[in-house]
């Protein structure tokens, strides 16, 4: 294409490339809202009832009641997306499915098993996972792990079993990494939490395959409040994958989970999330990791679903020489307001963090990247590098970048870069001059944009993510 043709190419009326919404056929399968127990609303009696049904020790009930009081005292956030649609009186805080906890898929009730089959969980377990947990509404219905890991002392179980079987470990760590006073929805979570996974990887044990927990919310107008507690002991290594989805309803659903991660000295933890909630979901999740000496905590996050998301995983680098990396992509379509990002606190010398965030907004969707980098006085010789890119696919969408960088010592290297805009015509022209068709050039650019994230996922999930962003290319982007 010569200059003249480029001019014509630039000037002609361009058709917009259609980046299709996520194909939700699989995720939208609705089972009958069939439950053993469903508790609506939130008050002291309800919290006591949940604790009683779970036959919990007194110390856990105490935490729940303290958290309920905190929930009542704390205000809604005065920033971020509008949460006024959320009415806790309409939300079922506990939904017990008609299934007990099973260690064989054959024992899981047919309709629930079919749902997980279609989501590909048992298949993935066979092929590429070391263990699987599956939660349906408020309770875990399936949990299993490979034999050899049990022999090595790895614990992977549901949270209720962990409270019963490992009370000392749970008591020491539960709501300690994320204090109940953190914000209103953490307090709510601690008051009504149910389900979730507990993982303990003993000293020096390195898992070759990931563990995966999948959270499925089927019941309409309900909340899911699962608690994930992972302790990777000294020198150990783990990749944990979390998947979430729900069918679409007209009324608001709520997800207020909590993830507490302890990465001890010289340990490694990668926490990958593919979040694909339905577009009636308020996703107000909290995730935090405390990272020990020379340990590394990596986060890989794909946020595609939910009506509103407020999700900012956090690494607290408490150990000298500790590291963290965050790689995240957010894709907001029509009616979605996804406020995501990352927080890191450098609390020790020689710590380092790398943050890489991408977002795509289309069809009136809103993406916000919100972050905090704090390098404290004692974090001498620390390094932090932040890169943040936002792609706008039309002029009815919104994309905001709101990063806070708080540097409290001079012995640091800190840099932050952010870009916002459309795909440049020049790049398309460059690729076309090398023989690619216009459509292929655009496809390559958009997939290239998401590549730094998809390359961090295990192959099976990278394929799933590429399928989630289903491109239908027609004319030009921009």
């Amino acid at each position: 294409m010569d200059t003249h043709n480029l001019k014509i190419y630039n000037e002609r009326e361009k058709m917009k490339t259609q980046v299709e919404d996520i194909n939700r056929n699989i995720y939208d399968i609705k089972n009958k809202d069939d439950y053993e127990i469903k508790i609506q609303g939130l008050n002291r009696e309800i919290v006591e009832e949940i604790s009683r049904l779970k036959n919990e020790p007194d110390w856990m009930l105490e935490i729940r009641l303290k958290a309920l009081k905190m929930y009542e005292e704390l205000e809604l956030p005065t920033w971020g997306p509008d949460l006024s649609e959320l009415n806790m009186d309409d939300i079922a805080t506990y939904v017990k499915p008609k299934s007990k906890l099973n260690s064989s898929w054959e024992d899981v009730p047919e309709d629930i098993k079919n749902t997980f089959d279609k989501l590909g969980i048992p298949e993935a377990e066979k092929k590429s996972l070391a263990g699987v947990g599956a939660q349906y509404d408020s309770e875990v219905v399936y949990h299993s792990m490979k034999e050899d890991l049990i022999k090595q002392g790895v614990i992977y179980t549901d949270m209720e079993s962990a409270v019963r079987d490992y009370p000392e470990i749970v008591k020491k760590h539960f709501m300690k990494c994320v204090p109940i006073s953190d914000h209103k929805f953490v307090a709510l979570h601690a008051a009504v939490w149910s389900g979730g996974s507990f993982v303990y990887v003993p000293k020096g044990v390195k898992l070759d395959f990931p563990l995966q927990s999948y959270f499925r919310l089927n019941s309409p107008e309900s909340g899911q409040f699962e608690h994930t507690l992972i302790i990777v002991d000294e020198g150990a290594s783990l990749h944990f994958i979390e998947g979430c989805s729900a069918p679409q309803y007209n009324k608001v659903n709520l997800h207020a989970g909590c993830v507490e991660l302890y990465v001890k000295d010289n340990a490694y933890l990668r926490y990958s999330t593919i979040e694909n909630w339905s577009k009636n979901m308020m996703n107000l999740n909290t995730k935090k990791a405390i990272v020990g000496k020379n340990a590394q905590m990596d986060w890989v996050t794909g946020s595609f679903g939910s009506k509103v998301s407020m999700l900012y995983p956090m690494s607290i680098l408490n150990g000298q020489g500790s590291k963290t990396e965050y790689t995240g992509i957010t894709f907001a379509g029509g009616g979605q307001n996804l406020d995501t990002g990352f927080k890191v606190i450098h609390n020790a010398p020689n710590t380092s963090s790398v943050i890489n965030s991408k977002s795509i907004s289309k069809d009136g969707g809103a993406c916000t990247y919100r972050s905090l980098v704090r390098i404290n006085e004692n974090a001498k010789n620390s390094k932090c590098s932040v890169s943040c890119e936002s792609l706008m696919l039309d002029d009815i969408s919104r994309s905001d970048t709101i990063p806070v960088n708080d540097i409290r010592t001079d012995e640091v290297e800190f840099s932050h870069e952010a870009k916002i805009g459309k795909i440049s015509d020049k790049t398309i022209f460059y690729l076309m001059s090398r023989g690619l068709s216009e459509e292929d050039a655009k496809a390559m650019i958009v997939r290239g944009f998401a590549y730094p994230i998809s390359k961090e996922l295990p192959v099976e999930y990278a394929v799933e993510m590429n399928n989630l962003i289903n491109l239908e290319l027609e004319g030009a982007i921009g």
Partner: protein, 348 residues
């Protein structure tokens, strides 16, 4: 004394990030007399005191704004005529002129250079609360330089509002080295097609100085442009909050916005917070921001010290060289020298 929350960001973020606003203990000056020690150097413009009392879009805070509208002790409105003009306004704080509450309004009908200088000729506690409003009419080139060299016992509050019409080009240079607590707000309303705004700032903090800088540029017209470059250094226990927002409004097709802030930390007790925001509701735009913080580059230090220069002087040289890119754009050589001398003294 009253605790005021000032300099709100256009979009809030989490309260515990401590950046949405700054809390300042504010005491109203006991006596506000006419500020006499002001010098206006200009011979062509129409000068009066008929300044606008129209509410500011952002500003430092509504209480401070009300104080200005009701009790300003100095008001200057300048409407430039049809020839190229140079205007200089110098406020000299001294023992008889301790408190300045002022409004300056510049309506540039033609190419104009404006320089506003705040200087202290006293070590006594002073107070400055002001508004600078500038309007660049179509096809006008407007250069504004604001220099704050107040003493470190003075609280300084300055709100700037700048409106740009078609094809106008406005260059702002802000030298912010004085004051105890210095709160500055800059809002640029870039309406006209092809309008372009360049904003360059130097800040320097030492001892317990606090700098709270809040810059907001709204790009509304097609092919508009904003370029923000902020260079700063913090010594001792100085603290700086930099909040910079580029807001691409729907319809500002082909607009471009760049923002860069660099903070040199010269002490392990200095604190630097930056919030560089990009807000966007238009697809066909290009927005970039970058911020960086850290100590003075060791390789540069080594190179200079290898030539027999002391560590202290080498640090000064590096800081001044960073600042010089901005200072050298100032056309008034005497002022340039004065600023460099002041920076030199404050870096000692």
């Amino acid at each position: 004394m009253e605790k005021l929350k000032l300099n709100n960001t256009p979009v809030r973020t989490a309260r515990n990030f401590a950046i949405n606003n700054i809390e300042v203990l504010f005491e109203m000056p006991k006596e506000i007399r006419k500020f006499k020690n002001v010098e206006i150097i200009n011979d062509k413009s129409i000068i009066d005191n008929e300044v606008s009392n129209k509410e500011l879009t952002y500003g430092t805070g509504k209480i401070l704004e009300k104080l200005i509208f009701e009790e300003a002790n100095n008001k200057i409105r300048i409407q430039t005529t049809k020839q190229k003009e140079d205007i200089k306004i110098i406020y000299n704080f001294d023992d008889n002129n301790l408190n300045l509450i002022n409004q300056i309004e510049i309506i540039a009908n033609n190419d104009t250079n404006v320089t506003i200088i705040y200087k202290s000729k006293t070590s006594r506690t002073c107070f400055h609360n002001g508004i600078v409003r500038t309007t660049a009419k179509e096809n006008v080139q407007l250069n504004v330089t604001i220099v704050n060299m107040l003493n470190e016992n003075t609280d300084n509050f300055e709100a700037i509002e700048n409106t740009l019409y078609q094809n106008s080009n406005v260059k702002y240079t802000i030298i912010d080295i004085g004051g105890k607590t210095s709160v500055s707000n800059y809002y640029s309303n870039i309406i006209g097609t092809n309008a372009s705004n360049d904003l360059k700032t130097i800040y320097l903090g030492r001892n317990n100085q606090i700098k709270d800088i809040n810059y907001i540029a709204e790009l509304k017209g097609e092919k508009t442009n904003i370029d923000i470059d902020v260079q700063g250094a913090l010594k001792d226990e100085a603290k700086k909050n930099f909040k910079g927002t580029i807001d691409f409004k729907r319809g500002c097709k082909k607009a471009k916005g760049n923002e860069n802030e660099n903070c040199m930390l010269l002490s392990n007790k200095a604190k630097s917070i930056a919030l560089p925001m990009l807000l966007c509701t238009e697809e066909d735009v290009e927005g970039n921001h970058s911020t960086s913080s850290g100590k003075v580059d060791e390789k540069q230090l080594f190179y200079i010290m290898a030539r027999g220069i002391s560590y202290k002087e080498a640090v000064k040289l590096i800081v001044k060289s960073k600042f010089n890119n901005i200072i050298e754009k100032i056309k008034d050589d005497n002022l340039k020298e004065e600023i460099l001398k002041e920076i030199d003294e404050r870096l000692d």
